[in-house]
């Protein structure tokens, strides 16, 4: 038992470590990045001026002078626009000849489809190696204490990589389709982007080559390097390398999108100012990168969960059912772990959007895109419902969970109340008569729930409820025996009650502050939620030391409702991912590159919500059809010998 209890910490710690590795450079780095790069750029600028002055002196008059121009984003120490040597042609004024089209669909829709499908697959193939790295690591670490479980972890990672390998080729094909679509339908726009990003595109292609090489060594070397010793560690290290390359790839591709949305490194005419790093590292680069990593993890977890849920439903014997039930659990655990910090990364991204152009932020939150954010709120609510539904249903198969099941209904009630508040719009379209009857654009009572104070409160309470649900799930089959059990329980209760009160207090306090100060209250609210997450989980896990098990989890007895909750989560997240991608891209309105390169195509309008919604549904269904095909193709290869089932049905680390 002692050995098992020690192993219990491995997966959360590994996950935490992985998040820290990915997020710290972005979060910590960004705080200093702009200043540091401004400093560097300032020095470069001064140096370049000196060199030019020297050249001028040496060559005398009559030589062509280098033209200097102001950066649209970067600033020097005094807050004045940074200057750089003009190193490229201005953005072109695109005309009819710069756009091509087919008769059956607008070019913009075709490009959107190609882009979204590639992004979905790209997201999946970037997420799976992260899972594999973690799962393989956990497998290696638990080799001595539980060899059977270690083997199961190893096989799971291997199976996932097999699926990922097929998906990888598919992603590359979709990337090719995207590239050809872009070149053929938007040649003028592509030419400008290619001119600016020429070196980045080549590096990207080379990184893709490196990613492929490492991926093949990692997958095909699995069995040969599985010696249980040094080579296995080397193999696991290759997965770290694979993820590093994958992350660089994603960040390079992100730079194109973030440049289009919030450019830097060019002047007002779109002329390149000679520093490619400025172009790559535009203001949204880091938040979009972190947001996408977290999103990829949730998306990947959803797909793997759905894959396992499907196999669970089709399994004909108990052993297979137990296995896939367990895989569902692992996938959902990773998925929810990524889901919880995702809104905070979203806040960071929006903060940077507002910092870039307040007008762009308001277009998103209060302008033409505002309804899309209401839809996003509904989707997030749906995700939390699905996640909680899975946890509630999963609890029923854990012996000893009856102690906590009675609280589920209250949690559902709280979720419904918060969800209702979360999706209450600030204003809605009304006839003048309705407007008059209600006494204004906002309802006298319900209108209070439409503002950010209420919404921040609601979503933080939903996250705290999900955390509580997860902690109860963790301890469902444990009899706590540590001497400080009562004190520990009191602490956990105090943390959750205190957090709820603090979040509500801050929410109410916000109504008494002006709008610009009210926004700042979201920071302590989020901090409260994160404190609850880390402190609550840490105390909860610490209390499991020497705990007595009230019985194993009955793997393979997951209810159908719980299984379909996984499907719901997977499909909802796919749709949500498409929605947020559309919002991020569409906020440029009629610009290819914001304020620099105008979209003069017939498709430059912003779609109605309904048109966008139909496209999102199509993209979602279409990509899932492809996923099914990919899974089917992956299953065609010979199946490896099944791991010998342990005498007792295996219980994953978190449950013992």
């Amino acid at each position: 038992m002692l050995g098992k209890t020690r192993r219990l910490n491995i997966l959360p710690i590994a996950l935490f470590f992985a998040f820290a590795v990915y997020m710290m450079p972005g979060l910590a780095g960004d705080a200093f990045a702009k200043e540091a790069f401004a400093e560097q750029a300032f020095a470069e600028q001064a140096f370049a001026k000196e060199v030019m002055a020297a050249d001028d002196d040496a060559e005398g008059e009559g030589e062509p002078e280098i033209e200097w121009s102001q950066d649209v984003f970067y600033k020097d120490f005094e807050g004045n626009p940074l200057k750089g040597p003009v190193s490229g042609a201005p953005a072109p004024e695109l005309g009819e000849n710069d756009y091509n089209n087919y008769e059956f669909a607008p070019s913009r829709i075709i490009l959107w489809m190609a882009n979204q499908q590639h992004l979905y697959f790209g997201s999946f193939v970037l997420a799976v190696p992260i899972f594999c790295m973690l799962i393989e690591f956990v497998g290696i670490r638990s080799r001595e204490s539980d060899p059977v479980m270690a083997k199961k972890y190893d096989m799971l990672a291997h199976d996932l990589m097999k699926v990922s390998l097929t998906a990888y080729s598919w992603t590359a094909i979709l990337g090719g389709i995207l590239l050809f679509t872009f070149i053929t339908l938007f040649p003028g726009f592509f030419k400008y982007m290619a001119t600016i990003f020429r070196p980045v595109m080549h590096v990207y292609a080379l990184m893709f080559l490196a990613e492929s090489g490492v991926l093949y060594v990692y997958y095909y070397g699995w069995d040969k390097m599985n010696d249980g010793g040094f080579l296995k560690w080397v193999h696991c290290s290759i997965s770290v390398l694979l993820n590093l390359i994958g992350t660089v790839l994603m960040y390079l591709a992100n730079s194109w999108a973030t440049f289009m949305q919030a450019p830097g490194g060019i002047d007002e005419q779109g002329r390149f100012l000679g520093n490619i790093w400025h172009v790559i590292h535009s203001t949204l680069w880091n938040p979009v990168g972190v947001h996408r990593i977290l999103g990829n993890i949730v998306f990947g977890g959803g797909i793997v969960g759905a894959y396992a849920a499907y196999h669970y439903l089709t399994a004909r014997d108990e052993e297979t059912k137990a296995h896939y039930d367990w895989v569902c659990y692992v996938a959902m655990f990773i998925c929810i772990f990524g889901l919880i910090p995702l809104p905070f990364a979203g806040y960071w991204l929006m903060k940077e959007v507002y910092a870039f152009r307040q007008q762009m932020g308001i277009t998103l939150m209060g302008g033409i895109m505002a309804w899309l954010f209401i839809i996003q709120a509904v989707m997030i609510g749906l995700l939390f419902f699905a996640a909680n539904s899975y946890l509630h249903n999963s609890m029923s198969r854990v012996q000893g969970s009856q102690r906590y099941m009675k609280y589920c209904k209250y949690m559902v009630l709280l979720l419904i109340v918060c969800f209702t508040m979360w999706m209450t719009p600030h204003t809605i379209v009304m006839t003048p008569a309705e407007l008059k009857e209600m006494g204004g654009a906002q309802h006298p009572i319900i209108g209070h729930f439409g503002v950010m104070s209420a919404k921040n409160t609601a979503v933080n309470l939903m996250i705290v409820t999900t955390i509580l649900c997860f902690l109860l799930y963790q301890r469902a089959n444990k009899k706590i025996t540590v001497p400080w059990a009562t004190a520990g329980n009191c602490w956990i209760t105090a943390i959750f009650v205190g957090a709820a009160l603090n979040i509500i207090f801050l929410g109410v306090y916000g109504y008494f502050l002006p709008a610009n100060q009210r926004v700042g209250l979201s920071v302590p609210q989020v901090t409260t939620t994160l404190t609850t997450l880390f402190a609550g989980t840490a105390i909860n896990i610490s209390m499991f030391k020497d705990s007595e098990s009230m019985g194993d989890i009955k793997w393979g007895t997951q209810s159908k409702v719980g299984t379909y909750a996984i499907f719901l989560l997977a499909i909802s997240f796919t749709w949500l991912m498409g929605l947020m991608g559309y919002i991020r891209s569409a906020v440029r309105l009629f610009w290819h590159v914001t304020e620099v390169l105008r979209d003069n195509s017939p498709d430059a309008y912003t779609l109605t919500i309904g048109e966008a919604g139909k496209m999102l549904t199509f993209n979602t269904l279409f990509v899932w059809v492809q996923f099914v095909v990919v899974f089917w193709v992956a299953s065609l290869s010979a199946k490896p010998a099944a791991a010998k089932a342990p005498d007792a049905v295996p219980v994953p680390a978190q449950q013992q």
């Binding site: 829709i109 439903l313 308001i362 209060g366 009304m430 003048p432 379909y564 139909k614 269904l621």
Partner: protein, 449 residues
């Protein structure tokens, strides 16, 4: 998607339905071949029939445009699908086959249902399409101050207004500013009475010193504060002087060209030292000199409807900057409708949706004037004792209402009072060709709720 093109979602789903029908057919054939007591001919015939119908319906979907596809998909194809599922269930029940639809089928229906419900939800919400603004303002001939101020209103609010929702034009001002007295959304100052306020504000100490001193250059915009005579020439007021002669117009002009020259207390960043407002004459908004003046004309006059005595900006002249723009923008936004345009373009160009709800025209949900359900209403109105016009049929009535709106003023039954007379422009006869008026009359005569 263009109206004449197919809808990508319904086309995809119809294809998926056909694949499903094929799967069901094959699956049923397999069951029948495994069991001797089940009639292959009978069940194969039924499900083969379903497959054929589904296939033909899918082929037909490619002949329809997206509006027709919507009704056909939900009216016919979904019905066929429900019948297919029903008969499939009867097949399983009657043949006592326990192993029913595999999870992949159930998962597909689950996924499809959720996704289509989400698409339905997005279509249930208010729909607003945002078109890119024209590259430059369009002007032909002489304009009155009323028209010029109206142009300013359109730049601020756009052409379409929906009650309860902030309409937004090229200038994007309502994203942050409010315009009605007492209205405040907390982002930026209310602009009610800004002309008068501006004239007195420039004399205040705070204006003289914060955040930029009068006479200093604000770096972001390059504008010298409190110096109307040093504004870039194309935007400069004719006869502008120095600080001592600053007017409300100068204050507004400076505010849009250099928002950080003066930041209203409580609405700035960094301790009210920096304005969050973009420079309106630069991208992405990039108002031209004529447009800036139009906005100023609107701001100076909207608090006193019909009275333009406070407006100090000059009308655009044919030989000024506006004339230069005319040459390049003639084709982009003509205010004379030739009749060659599609009907929705004619209606939107004339601004009808601003006041009227017009069935068949997207976004035409105005409430200031009567709903245009003329197919039925016109005949009733001709018979109304209050009617003094000359029309004897629907088309004549519609033509008369457009060319002479005051001939008959419709009763607002919700409010139990007449709709305001004189609100509708009286000069459509100068804006419409004979073809255009015919086209418009033909369309509106057929509108019904």
């Amino acid at each position: 998607m263009l109206p004449e093109q197919q809808d990508i979602l319904w086309t995809f789903l119809s294809l998926a339905f056909t694949v499903f029908a094929l799967y069901v057919f094959i699956s049923v054939i397999q069951y029948c071949r495994e069991r001797e007591d089940v009639s292959l001919k009978f069940w194969g015939g039924i499900f083969g029939g379903f497959l054929l119908v589904m296939f033909l319906e899918t082929v037909h979907m490619f002949d329809l445009n997206q509006v027709q596809q919507l009704s056909f998909f939900f009216g016919k194809m979904c019905l066929t699908m429900i019948l297919l599922l029903l008969v499939w269930g009867i097949f399983f029940k009657s043949t006592k086959i326990e192993n029913q639809s595999p999870p992949i089928i159930r998962a597909f229906f689950w996924w499809t249902t959720i996704s289509v419900l989400l698409a339905g939800y997005t279509n249930w919400l208010p729909q607003q399409r945002s078109d890119p603004p024209p590259k430059a303002a369009a002007f032909i001939g002489e304009v009155t101050m009323e028209e010029y101020a109206e142009m300013g209103r359109v730049i601020i609010f756009g052409t379409k207004q929906v009650a309860g929702q902030k309409a937004i034009g090229k200038g994007q001002c309502p994203l942050c500013h409010t315009f009605d007295a007492g209205d405040n959304i907390g982002r930026c100052p209310n602009l009610f009475g800004v002309n008068e306020r501006g004239a007195t504000r420039v004399k205040e100490d705070r204006y003289l010193n914060e955040p930029v001193k009068v006479g200093d250059k604000e770096p972001k915009s390059g504008i010298i504060k409190g110096a109307p005579d040093q504004i870039p020439e194309e935007y400069r007021r004719a006869g502008a002087g120095g600080y001592d002669s600053m007017t409300g117009e100068d204050y507004i002009r400076e505010s849009v060209m250099c928002p950080t020259c003066y930041v209203v207390k409580g609405f700035g960043k960094a301790g009210d030292k920096v304005s969050p407002m973009p420079v309106i004459v630069k991208p992405p908004i990039s108002l031209s000199p004529v447009e800036v003046n139009a906005v100023i004309a609107y701001l100076q006059s909207y608090t006193t409807p019909g009275d333009y005595a406070n407006v100090t900006v000059p009308l655009p002249s044919a030989d000024g900057g506006a004339a230069e723009e005319t040459a390049e923008s003639d084709e982009e936004a003509p205010i004379f409708v030739t009749g060659a345009e599609p009907i929705d373009e004619i209606i939107n160009t004339l601004g009808c949706p601003l006041c009227h709800t017009i069935p068949g025209i997207e976004g035409a949900e105005g409430e200031l004037g009567p709903k245009l359900h003329e197919k039925i209403n016109a005949a009733k109105r001709i018979k109304d004792p209050r009617y003094k016009g000359k029309a004897t049929n629907t088309k004549e009535y519609v033509r008369e209402s457009i060319l002479n709106p005051s001939a008959y003023v419709v009763m607002n039954e919700e409010e139990n009072e007449l709709y305001p007379d004189g609100l509708m422009p009286q000069d459509f006869k100068h804006k419409l060709s004979v073809d255009a008026i015919d086209k418009l009359v033909d369309f509106i005569s057929q509108t019904e709720g």
